[in-house]
Assembly symmetry: C2
DNA sequence: TTATCTTAGGGGCATATGCCCATTATGCAG
DNA sequence: CTGCATAATGGGCATATGCCCCTAAGATAA
């Protein structure tokens, strides 16, 4: 179990070989991307049997939990803290597989409302079971409360307006 | 200044509008990717004048600090906690711009040694100056010691063997 | 020495990510 | 009502990321 503090440095858990070339990168974005890559691999491996990737499950989950009317691209992108264009690209495979549908808006012809299909909801439920394995595995190693704390910190970074761009 | 604890929830810093659709994602990988996307945008925006992206600067930095002989693809990938193939792809633009060169190995014809060119080192120095702006900006908001603590945690995740895959 | 096994990279494929620009649709000023 | 500013998407381009498989080259067993 790790402490969510710098007390246990990563080097303590590393092999001699990898420790040799280890360099504590001072860049916050780089370390964030490094950890993101690794953990995404862990979750993607767990999700592999159902044919979903982490990003795709995140989209389906957001839709599955959406309480109001099906969101527009912009609304969904905002909730996921993802670029609008990126979300548009990411929806393509989900649409192709028939997991989501993009419907027209009655009040504004510019908007497309994104909705989960029943097939998509079934796939989502299937994926969640696999996701839980990876989630449990990570939190077993990292610590459950430490993980919750980390998520809160990361969500803060993701949704913070003053960090969203250089404009201020 | 944020506390590196869940005491200050992200919602405390959010607009009413975005708070409405805010859903505290329980997935550690997803929140990691969300924060990663946002912060990468911040750093990339700062680096934009020099024509480098965060990932590219990370590669050049690792090479600039490399103490031993120029690393092989596998060694560099390991240090950056990135997939070997991914690093191969990422090196292509850097090679095209003449910032790095891939030399042959004298002892093992399979290996390619990656070295920074003088042009690449100059570009790296230029980028570091821009990088510092983004780094300072983030740490001004997030807190310097909190950032250091977060980096240590993230590096631990990135380099932890038991989290690298589902095999155990 | 030869057959086999392992390792290092490269190429192809697919998704992920975001920028810019074009198109279309609203909204609003006049 | 017309013309312009604005908003929502889509398409194109480029990089990021990782998987799989292939080939070449070193290492090892027979």
């Amino acid at each position: 179990m790790w402490a969510y503090t710098p007390l246990l440095l990563p080097s303590a858990t590393m092999t001699t070989d990898s420790k040799a070339n280890f360099r504590l990168s001072p860049c916050n974005a780089t370390t964030l991307r490094m950890a993101s890559r690794r953990l995404t691999q862990l979750y993607d491996a767990a999700l592999e049997p159902c044919g979903l990737r982490s990003t795709q499950l995140a989209i389906l989950s957001e839709l599955a939990h959406w309480s109001a009317d099906p969101p527009t691209l912009a609304e969904l992108a905002d909730a996921l803290a993802i670029d609008r264009s990126s979300l548009g690209h990411n929806l393509r495979p989900l649409e192709r597989e028939g997991w989501v549908v993009l419907g027209e808006s009655a009040v504004d012809a510019r908007r497309r409302h994104i909705a989960l299909t029943s097939k998509g909801r079934a796939k989502w439920r299937e994926a969640v079971r696999l996701w839980r394995v990876a989630q449990e595995r990570f939190e077993y190693v990292f610590g459950r409360s430490e993980a919750a704390s980390l998520r809160a910190t990361l969500l803060g970074i993701a949704h913070h307006e003053r960090l969203a761009s250089l404009k201020d």
